[in-house]
C-alpha cells in the first residue's frame, strides 16, 4: 500500500517539477502575526499590572510583548524548518511514530496529572490537566501535538485509501479512523475536558475525509452521529451544560456569578463598545481585568474593542483569504497526500477561527480555544507555523489546472506554473 503511494508520488513528481512556493500564504500570515503583536504590545502592560496586583508578581510592562516576540521568532524558525528542511516525504515516513508519540504524551500527562498529581510538571485546573510545565520555559499542550500527529498520519493513510479507491470501506478506512478519533476523544475530551480542541480535531478529520471523497451518505451519517455524541458530551458534563444553558438563556442580564455567562457578556461588551472604528490602540479597558483570558482565548474581543468593526472585518478577511489560499493550493496539488495535508490544515485553522470567534460573539457556547496567530502563547503559534510551513512546502508542487484535467505526461513549461496565472519559466523559479 505504502509502496503504491510512493509510486504515485514519483509519478506526480515526474509530472510536477518543484517550483517557486506560494508567497501569498506568508503575506496573509505575516499581517495577522503583526496585528497579534500590536494588540499584545497594547494590552501587555495592563495584563502584567493585573497579575502583579492579584498574584503579587513583578512582571514588567514589556513582559508579554517580549514573550510573544520570542514565540513569533521560534514560530518563524519552525516555519522555515518545515517549509524547506523537513521534507514531507520524510515526515510521512514517521507519521505513525508521531501519532504514537502524541498518544504517549497525552498518556504521560494523564499519568502525571490525573493519577500521580505531580504538580511540578503538570498544570491542572478543576481536574482537567491540559499542560505540561517545563520549568523555566513555559507550558506545553500535548493536545496540539496530538492534532499534528493525527493530521500527518491521516494524510498518508487516507491518501493510500484514495489511491486504492477504498475511502468508503468500512473496515479499511472508517473503522480505523473512528478508532483513532475515539482514542483522541478519550484523552482530549474526557481526560483533559477540552471540548474545543476535540471539535477542532473532528474538523480536521472531517475536512480531510471530505476532500478524500467520502460518500455524502456516510458523511451525513457521521455528522448525525457526531451531533448525538456532542449532545451526550454536553449533557453529562456539568460545566458544559452550564455553558450551554448560558448560551441558550442569553446573557444580557448576566450579573450572574456563573463564569461562562460573565465571560461571554464581557466579550460582547468589549466587541460592542468598540463600535465602527474601535477605541484605539492602548485604550482597551476590558483588558484591565474585566474580560477573562483577555490576552489568549479572548483576544478577538479585545481586538474588537481596539479596532472596531472595520478592524475585525479586516482580520476576518485576512483569515478568509488565508483559508481560501490553502484551499486553492490544495486544488492544485496532484499528490493526494499533500492535498489531504492542506485539507487538514484548512480544518485546523478554520475550526479554531470559527469556534473562537463564534464563542466571542455569542453565536456558539464558550469553549477554551486559541485564535490562531493572534492569541498569546507559544505552543499554538508554533504548531500553526509548522502546519503552514508544510502547506508552503507543498505549494512548490502544484500543477496547473489544465494539467490536472488532462493528465499530460509530457513535460512543458506549464508544469512549472504555480497556482494562478501563467508565469515565465525563467523568472525567479528554482
Amino acid at each position: 500500500m505504502v509502496e503504491r503511494a510512493r509510486r504515485t508520488v514519483s509519478a506526480a513528481r515526474e509530472l510536477v517539477r518543484k517550483h517557486r512556493p506560494d508567497y501569498r500564504l506568508i503575506s496573509y500570515t505575516a499581517v495577522l502575526v503583526v496585528i497579534g503583536l500590536i494588540i499584545i504590545f497594547a494590552i501587555g502592560p495592563q495584563r502584567a499590572n493585573l497579575l502583579n496586583e492579584t498574584f503579587g508578581s513583578s512582571l514588567g510592562d514589556s513582559y508579554f510583548i517580549l514573550r510573544q516576540t520570542m514565540s513569533v521568532l521560534i514560530a518563524m524558525g519552525a516555519f522555515i524548518a518545515f517549509a524547506f528542511f523537513f521534507k514531507f516525504d520524510w515526515i510521512l515516513k514517521h507519521s505513525g511514530k508521531i501519532l504514537l508519540a502524541g498518544f504517549g504524551a497525552s498518556a504521560l500527562l494523564a499519568l502525571f496529572g490525573n493519577v500521580f498529581h505531580v504538580e511540578a510538571i503538570t498544570q491542572c485546573a478543576l481536574g482537567a490537566c491540559r499542560w505540561f510545565v517545563i520549568p523555566g520555559i513555559g507550558t506545553l499542550q500535548p493536545s496540539e501535538f496530538l492534532k499534528f500527529g493525527v493530521l500527518i498520519f491521516l494524510a498518508g493513510f487516507l491518501a493510500a485509501r484514495m489511491r486504492s479507491g477504498e475511502i468508503n470501506s468500512r473496515d479499511k478506512t472508517l473503522i480505523p479512523v473512528a478508532a483513532i478519533l475515539a482514542v483522541c476523544a478519550f484523552f482530549i475530551v474526557i481526560l483533559q475536558k477540552d471540548l474545543g480542541t476535540g471539535v477542532a480535531l473532528i474538523a480536521i478529520v472531517a475536512s480531510m475525509m471530505t476532500v478524500a471523497g467520502i460518500s455524502p451518505r456516510i458523511g451525513a451519517f457521521a455528522a448525525a452521529g457526531l451531533v448525538v455524541l456532542g449532545v451526550v458530551t454536553i449533557v453529562i458534563a456539568p460545566h458544559r451544560m452550564e455553558r450551554m444553558m448560558t448560551f441558550l438563556s442569553g446573557d444580557e442580564a448576566a450579573t450572574a456569578v456563573d463564569g461562562g455567562a460573565y465571560h461571554i457578556t464581557h466579550a460582547k461588551i468589549a466587541i460592542g463598545s468598540g463600535g465602527l472604528f474601535g477605541l484605539g490602540i492602548g485604550n482597551s479597558v476590558q483588558a484591565a481585568g474585566y474580560l477573562p483570558e483577555a490576552i489568549n482565548d479572548s483576544v478577538f474581543a479585545i481586538l474588537g474593542e481596539t479596532f472596531g468593526f472595520l478592524g475585525l472585518v479586516f482580520i476576518l478577511g485576512m483569515f478568509y483569504l488565508l483559508l481560501r489560499r490553502i484551499l486553492k493550493i490544495m486544488d492544485h496539488l496532484p499528490d493526494e497526500r499533500y492535498k489531504l495535508l492542506a485539507a487538514g490544515v484548512f480544518g485546523w485553522i478554520g475550526s479554531h477561527v470559527i469556534i473562537n470567534v463564534a464563542a466571542m460573539t455569542g453565536l456558539m457556547p464558550l469553549t477554551g480555544i486559541t485564535l490562531p496567530l493572534l492569541s498569546f502563547g507559544g505552543t499554538s503559534m508554533v504548531f500553526i507555523a509548522v502546519i503552514l510551513g508544510l502547506v508552503f512546502q507543498a505549494s512548490q508542487y502544484t500543477a496547473h489546472r489544465s494539467d490536472l484535467k488532462k493528465g499530460k505526461k509530457d513535460e512543458d513549461s506549464r508544469s512549472r506554473r504555480r497556482v494562478g496565472r501563467t508565469r515565465y519559466a525563467g523568472r525567479r523559479s528554482i
Partner: protein, 579 residues
C-alpha cells in the same frame, strides 16, 4: 498516468461552508458593533466608570506649648493587610509571613480558617501595619494578599487631654470632645475621581471622560490648652485623688482675662488610641462641661459679688448671726457654729456661713424676705450675667445646660433662692462656674469660655475668637472688693501659697443628689480660686473631687490640689512677686 484528481475534490463545498460562516459572523459583528453599539457602550461604562473618593486628610489638633503650637493629634498612614481566599494558594506561607512581620497587628482568630473561606474575596489579616511592614510582606510576593492604605490618628501625648480631644471611630467620625463637635471642620471635603478603572478599581489614565476634583483637607485646629499646664493639672489631680481616696475628680484652669481654657480634665480617663478597650463610656465624658452638679459653697462668692454690686452689702457690713435662719417652713443652719452675734460679711465668707448668704438674699429684697424682686435680681446675676444654667458655647461636644430655676416658675420660690445663695438648689457645670467666677474677679467682664485658639495654617496660628465678651456684668469696684474678700477668705484658711502673690479661693462641700434625693454621708469637695499678682489674676482654677459613699470636703480634699497647681502656675508664668 492520469491525474484526474479533481474529481474527488470537495473544495467548493468547503469554500461555501467557510464563506457562509464568515458572512454570518460579519453580520453578527455588525449587529454587536454598529446596531447595538450604544447598548454595549452603556454596559461598559456602567461597569468601568467608577466614582472614586479621594479622601481628604483630617485636620491635626495642636495644643500650645507656651505660645508655640505643638501637635497633639496627628495622622499616620498605615495599611490593612487583607487576603483574597479565592486567589491564595500558599495558605501556610501567607500566615507565616504575616505573623513574622506583623504579629502584633494581626487580627484574632484562626487565620487558616479565614483563608479557606472562599465565599468572600476580602479577609482582613492585620490592621495598622506600618509602611515598612507592608513592604516586607509585599516583597514575599504572596498571591492573593493585598494592602489598603488607611489613615490613623496618632496621639503624641498619649492620654493627655483625651476627654477634650475625643477620638475618631472606625467610620472615621469624630466622637466626643473637639473631634465630634468640630468634626465637619476637621474632616474637610473629600475629592472625587470619576474615572475608568481596572477590575480592581485602580484608575486608568485612558478614557476621555475622567473627572478629578481634588480634596480639601480638614482644618488643623489649635487648642487653647497649654500642654504643660494640662499635663501638670492631670498630674496634681491624680495625686490629689490618691491622697484623698476619691475615685473621681475634675479640674479646670481658665485664663480669667480671655475665657480661654488652659487645662481641663477628668479622672478616670482613657487613651484615645485604645478607645475600643474602654469599658465604661463615662470615661469618654468631659465632666467639666457635660456633668452639671451642685457646687455648694464656692458659689457664695457669686452671692457676695451680687450683694456688693447691688450695693446692699460691703465687706464690712454686719448682720446678726444666730447659727440658723428660718425660710418659710425650712430651717437653714451653718456648718461652723458659735459665731453668733453681729459679724461681718467677710467673716461670713471666711467661715462659709449659710446664714450670711441668706441675709444677702434677704437684703436684695426688703431686708426680711427673699421677695420676688430679690429673686429676680439673683436670677439676673447668676443666670443672665454670670451665665450659670446657660450653655457657654465651648467647642466640645455634649455641653450640658444644667438648671437654674427662674423665679417666674413655681419652683423658683424663696426656699430655693435661699439655697441658691450658698450654692445648692441649682445644677451648673464647672465651665459655667469658672467663666462666671472669672468675670467676678477680672473687673467685671464676662468672657464666654473657649477651647479653640485658632487654626494652624502654613506654620502659623490664624487666631479666631468666637467668644462673647460682656463688659460690666458687675462694676470694677464691686469686682475689686469681692476679689479681695475671696483673697482674705483663702488666707484665713491656709498659708501654703508662695509669698508675694495674690491667691484667693473658696471651698465648697455639697451634699450630693441621687435620684432626686439628697444622699446622706456622701459629699463632693470643690475648690474655686484665682491666682496671680495683686494687680491682675492670671488664672482661675476649679477642682472637684467625688466618690461613691465618700464624704469629700472642699478644704481638706479639693483645696490641696488647687494649692499644688496654683504654686506651680505662679512659677510657670514667671510672675514677679510683690511685697
Amino acid at each position: 498516468m492520469k491525474l484526474d484528481l479533481l474529481k474527488g475534490s470537495r473544495s467548493q463545498f468547503l469554500v461555501i461552508l467557510l464563506t457562509g460562516v464568515m458572512i454570518l459572523i460579519v453580520v453578527r459583528l455588525f449587529w454587536l458593533q454598529i446596531v447595538q453599539h450604544d447598548h454595549y457602550t452603556a454596559l461598559a461604562n456602567r461597569e468601568q466608570m467608577k466614582h472614586l473618593v479621594i479622601p481628604a486628610n483630617r485636620g491635626m489638633i495642636y495644643a500650645l506649648d507656651g505660645t508655640t503650637p505643638a501637635p497633639l493629634v496627628m495622622n499616620q498612614q498605615v495599611y490593612t493587610v487583607f487576603a483574597d481566599p479565592t486567589v491564595v494558594t500558599k495558605h501556610q506561607e501567607v500566615e507565616q509571613v504575616v505573623r513574622e512581620v506583623a504579629a502584633g497587628e494581626m487580627v484574632d482568630g484562626d487565620i487558616q480558617e479565614m483563608l479557606q473561606d472562599t465565599s468572600t474575596q476580602y479577609k482582613v489579616l492585620a490592621r495598622n501595619v506600618s509602611l515598612r511592614q507592608a513592604e516586607l510582606i509585599r516583597e514575599k510576593k504572596l498571591s492573593g494578599v493585598g494592602f489598603q492604605q488607611v489613615s490613623k490618628r496618632v496621639y503624641t501625648e498619649g492620654q493627655l487631654a483625651s476627654q477634650t480631644l475625643g477620638f475618631v471611630n472606625n467610620e472615621n467620625k469624630g466622637q466626643y470632645g473637639v473631634e465630634e463637635r468640630l468634626n465637619d471642620r476637621l474632616t474637610g471635603t473629600d475629592g472625587v475621581l470619576k474615572s475608568v478603572t481596572d477590575v480592581a478599581n485602580v484608575p486608568l489614565s485612558i478614557g476621555k471622560n475622567n473627572i478629578r476634583q481634588d480634596p480639601v483637607d480638614g482644618e488643623s485646629l489649635v487648642l487653647t490648652l497649654d500642654l504643660n499646664i494640662q499635663s501638670k493639672a492631670e498630674q496634681v489631680l491624680a495625686a490629689g485623688l490618691e491622697r484623698s481616696g476619691a475615685t473621681d475628680g475634675s479640674i479646670m484652669v481658665m485664663d480669667p482675662n480671655t475665657g480661654q481654657i488652659k487645662a481641663m480634665a477628668s479622672l478616670p480617663t482613657y487613651k484615645p488610641e485604645e478607645f475600643t478597650k474602654v469599658q465604661d463610656a463615662k470615661q469618654f465624658v468631659n465632666r467639666t462641661v457635660s456633668e452639671p452638679y451642685e457646687p455648694g459653697s464656692v458659689l457664695k462668692t457669686f452671692t457676695v459679688a451680687t450683694g456688693i454690686d447691688m450695693g446692699v452689702i460691703t465687706p464690712d457690713a454686719t448682720f446678726y448671726n444666730t447659727d440658723s435662719v428660718r425660710i418659710e417652713d425650712r430651717t437653714i443652719g451653718n456648718v461652723v457654729k458659735g459665731l453668733t452675734g453681729n459679724i461681718s460679711m467677710q467673716t461670713a465668707l471666711n467661715n462659709s456661713l449659710n446664714t450670711g448668704m441668706v441675709n444677702i438674699a434677704q437684703r436684695l429684697g426688703n431686708g426680711e424676705y427673699i421677695t420676688k424682686g430679690a429673686r429676680d435680681t439673683m436670677y439676673e446675676y447668676f443666670h443672665n450675667r454670670f451665665g450659670l444654667g446657660e450653655l457657654t458655647g465651648i467647642q466640645v461636644t455634649n455641653e450640658q445646660r444644667g438648671t437654674v430655676i427662674s423665679p417666674d416658675e413655681a419652683e423658683g420660690n424663696a426656699v430655693r433662692y435661699s439655697n441658691m445663695a450658698f450654692g445648692q438648689g441649682l445644677n451648673v457645670t464647672m465651665v459655667q462656674v469658672c467663666a462666671g467666677f472669672s468675670s467676678i474677679i477680672n473687673g467685671g467682664t464676662y468672657h464666654s469660655p473657649s477651647v479653640i485658639a485658632g487654626t494652624y495654617e502654613d506654620g502659623q496660628i490664624r487666631k479666631e475668637d468666637n467668644a462673647t465678651h460682656r463688659k460690666g456684668v458687675i462694676s470694677t469696684e464691686a469686682s475689686q472688693q469681692t476679689r479681695e474678700m475671696i483673697y482674705k477668705a483663702r488666707n484665713g484658711f491656709t498659708s501654703d501659697d508662695k509669698p508675694g502673690y495674690y491667691v484667693g479661693g473658696k471651698t465648697g462641700t455639697a451634699q450630693t443628689i441621687e435620684n432626686g434625693q439628697y444622699v446622706m454621708n456622701q459629699t463632693d469637695g470643690t475648690y474655686l480660686g484665682f491666682g496671680g499678682t495683686k494687680s491682675e489674676s492670671k488664672y482661675v482654677i476649679m477642682v472637684q473631687v467625688s466618690g461613691k459613699g465618700m464624704n469629700l470636703e472642699g478644704n481638706r480634699h479639693a483645696m490641696p490640689i488647687f494649692t499644688d497647681l496654683s504654686n506651680w502656675l505662679l512659677e510657670y508664668y514667671q510672675l514677679q512677686p510683690g511685697e
